[in-house]
Symmetry: C2
């Protein structure tokens, strides 16, 4: 895992990925007490940064291997990223999803052209089903974060941040990243180390699911007590990845933690001030910039809005915090 | 009014205006029956394209004149554009607003650094107040659309569309623009005539306020019966401008008209598929692309989302159309 892999991924992604804008608004600066810059990855294809890693992994496969197709376990952003990247490569994608997933998520994944295989969470193992399908059909598993080419793809977001920050004259700032397994965080960290060494990565997580913040503090991988039961579902993972954690440990500052309510408030500010749609897990970094200013250093702060795949009911809950 | 003014405005705007992205999503293509490309001007500074025209007009003033300040009548997007452009130029801005404007709009305009002068709609004339302030303080009036440098500024959006369409290989398409007084439409029309002659401008308006569509049909300026009472308030004007109408008449195809409900539905699709916030008046062009496909030609259609300044209550109404 090194910067050359990220630069190679950027070459492969060129013309296929969107360079997302770095947004700002004076109202957010007033709340945060410093200038706030928002990397709006919710505007990426499929509504999250996951498309970068999926495209990177698919495009790195040998054509003969890729043509047999890919497989992923996910009901969320990674599934959609893999499905669309596969469709754009003209190869099959199988997504294994729990049978009780929301109908809209299943429909969306199918609409991106993927074959959805449903399983019963109570009686079946998705790993067994995946292993059988992979063997039978020669499908390649695309893991969501602990996979070098996926991390390299997410790192392209960091190369863009480095260049967009330089355009704005920002040479020193914390870069807060919404963090689940650490694929986006570690990729961005490596990109900044190479191209913008004055920018330091920080992680943002929801309360009660702060495995990365605790792991960074203790120096060893810590697990979450629970793996569900939070509105920030997109970034709820059991623990940091084996590949991603050492990178974060070497390069990231102390982790930041916000409440669910703060994530909803950040979504509302993104709506009213930036005109973009953030999902709860995609808003925790902005929440940290707005509501943890005493834990942040410098005159500027950069945050990712990592995804915007949220339904109308949850979004209305966020808007209600404006009242 | 010519293309050289638009190119000169683009020079003056460079580094100050955002180049907004041209977004797309397979789900929108499926509804529209052709590829849909969305110029997301809601992501512009102050949440609408109006910042372009305001910056253009302010930057075109002689420094000695500009330093005395500018004045505008508006409670909406033009006010915010003028206020922020003036603040960034370091000159005073006075915005004349009805005393019964929503408190949030007054607060926002003040937060952009403008002096807000309130007047009583029943007993006072904003023109009289404006004339007195202009004379006393030497303020320059920035009109919202019927002003060459404002049209030139809005035309820079068209230069971007021409170049972004070329990047996507689009050489022939209708470009549907949310149309009030015609500043954005006429500016884009002239830019496309010069840089992308295969792209043709079309206007989109709400039912009952289709003065431009009727004027284009009859060949003379037609007025609306009413000038209020529609959720698309940002694009409700009495009639097309004296400067903008001849340009539209020469370059625009037939006007398109959509209902309020269709505008709300388009807002909901922009939320769920593009992750951007559109206001009702900013969503009529997308609504036309989605729901007037038999009146549109070609394999691609380009639309503007011209603004995103909408409150939570109206946005929730739009989201409710998804159910």
């Amino acid at each position: 895992m090194n910067i050359d892999m990220i630069r190679a991924a950027q070459q492969r992604l060129s013309g296929h990925v969107r360079q997302t804008p770095l947004l700002n608004a004076p109202f957010l600066d007033d709340i945060a007490g410093r200038r706030v810059w928002v990397k709006a990855e919710c505007l990426q294809h499929t509504g999250s940064f996951k498309f970068r890693g999926a495209w990177s992994a698919l495009s790195a496969l040998e054509p003969a291997v890729r043509s047999k197709g890919v497989i992923a376990y996910s009901s969320g952003n990674h599934a959609q990223g893999v499905a669309l990247a596969a469709r754009m490569h003209g190869v099959p994608a199988v997504i294994i999803m729990p049978a009780d997933s929301p109908a809209l998520k299943i429909a969306n994944t199918r609409a991106y052209g993927a074959e959805v295989v449903l399983y019963d969470r109570a009686t079946e193992s998705r790993e067994d089903i995946g292993a059988r399908l992979s063997t039978d059909r020669g499908l390649t598993l695309i893991k969501p974060y602990d996979e070098p080419e996926v991390i390299a793809g997410q790192g392209t977001c960091g190369l863009e941040i480095a260049s967009q920050a330089a355009e704005q004259g920002i040479t020193k700032a914390d870069v807060i990243v919404c963090c689940g397994g650490g694929g986006l965080t570690s990729g961005i960290a490596m990109a900044l180390e190479a191209d913008a060494p004055g920018l330091r990565v920080r992680t943002a997580e929801p309360e009660g699911f702060d495995d990365v913040a605790r792991s960074l503090r203790s120096g060893v991988i810590e697990r979450n007590a629970r793996t569900s039961g939070n509105i920030c579902d997109a970034i709820i993972t059991p623990q940091p990845g084996d590949l991603t954690f050492p990178i974060m440990q070497r390069l990231a500052g102390p982790g930041l933690v916000v409440s669910e309510t703060e994530a909803l408030q950040a979504m509302a500010h993104a709506f009213s001030r930036l005109k973009v749609v953030a999902e709860p897990g995609g808003a925790v970094a902005l929440a940290a910039a707005l509501f943890r200013q005493d834990q942040i250093e410098g005159a500027d702060v950069i945050v990712t809005i990592s995804g915007g795949n949220v339904d109308a009911a949850m979004f209305s809950r966020a808007l209600a915090t404006l009242a």
